[in-house]
């Protein structure tokens, strides 16, 4: 059992409902595989850094989950076959990443407390 992160990008021309439905179906795949979903985020439509297929934007979805290798394979298989998914990437979480995320949260909290207007927007994502 290991922690993984998967990001995938959907075609921007989908409606909110369709995109959400797809996301939910992938979440379902994971739970079918007995993987536990820690985070499921929608980053929404973002401008792509380069053209993918015919699109310049994409709808980003982010999963953070723990599971067996088989779960990852199955999720990737589905992502690969789904034609609305234009990009995907699975990463095995680095154990050092956890410490890093805490530090980031601490930095954000500090920045907000010192309350220089506009400063809160500094940390991306």
């Amino acid at each position: 059992m290991h922690e993984y992160e998967t990001i995938f990008v959907l075609q921007p021309n989908l409606s909110e409902e369709e995109a959400e439905a797809l996301a939910k179906s992938f979440e379902q795949v994971l739970s079918d595989q007995k993987a536990t979903l820690a985070k499921s985020e929608r980053w929404g439509k973002k401008r792509l850094a380069y053209r993918v297929g015919k699109h310049w934007d994409g709808y980003y979805i982010f999963f953070e989950y723990t599971g067996q290798h088989a779960a990852v394979l199955e999720l990737e298989r589905r992502l690969r076959n789904q034609e609305h998914v234009i990009k995907w990437l699975t990463v095995r979480k680095d154990p050092r990443a956890a410490a890093e995320e805490e530090r980031k949260a601490a930095r954000l909290a500090r920045a907000q407390r010192s309350a220089i207007p506009g400063r809160e927007a500094e940390e991306g994502m």
Binding site: V9, A49, Y50, K87, L89, V91, A99
Partner: protein, 95 residues
């Protein structure tokens, strides 16, 4: 030519070639690794704002001698950038 200029006390910034023992003027301080300074252990490929600082105009990764990053963090930075590129968060090339 260039090295003679430096020996005379001319500006000579950029990498030294062969002769010339004057101090170099680099664009960024030699020893300063931003990540070492902040004791960063993991460079997140999702942190586009952080990564963008290391990708100038053409979309190429900044070399260590310019960014001042240490070897270990440069490697982490490079894999983070490559991942971000694959997920279209960063460009491969910008034209």
């Amino acid at each position: 030519m260039g090295s003679e200029d430096r020996e005379r006390g001319g500006r000579g910034d950029g990498p030294r070639r062969g002769g010339g023992h004057k101090k170099k003027f680099l664009f960024k301080r030699r020893k300063f690794c931003k990540f070492c300074d902040e004791k960063v252990e993991y460079i997140d490929y999702k942190d586009v704002r952080l990564l963008q600082g290391f990708i100038p105009e053409r979309g190429k990764v900044l070399p260590r001698r310019i960014s001042g990053t240490c070897a270990m963090h440069q490697r982490g930075l490079m894999s983070a950038i490559k991942r971000a590129r694959n997920i279209a968060l960063l460009p491969f090339t910008a034209d």
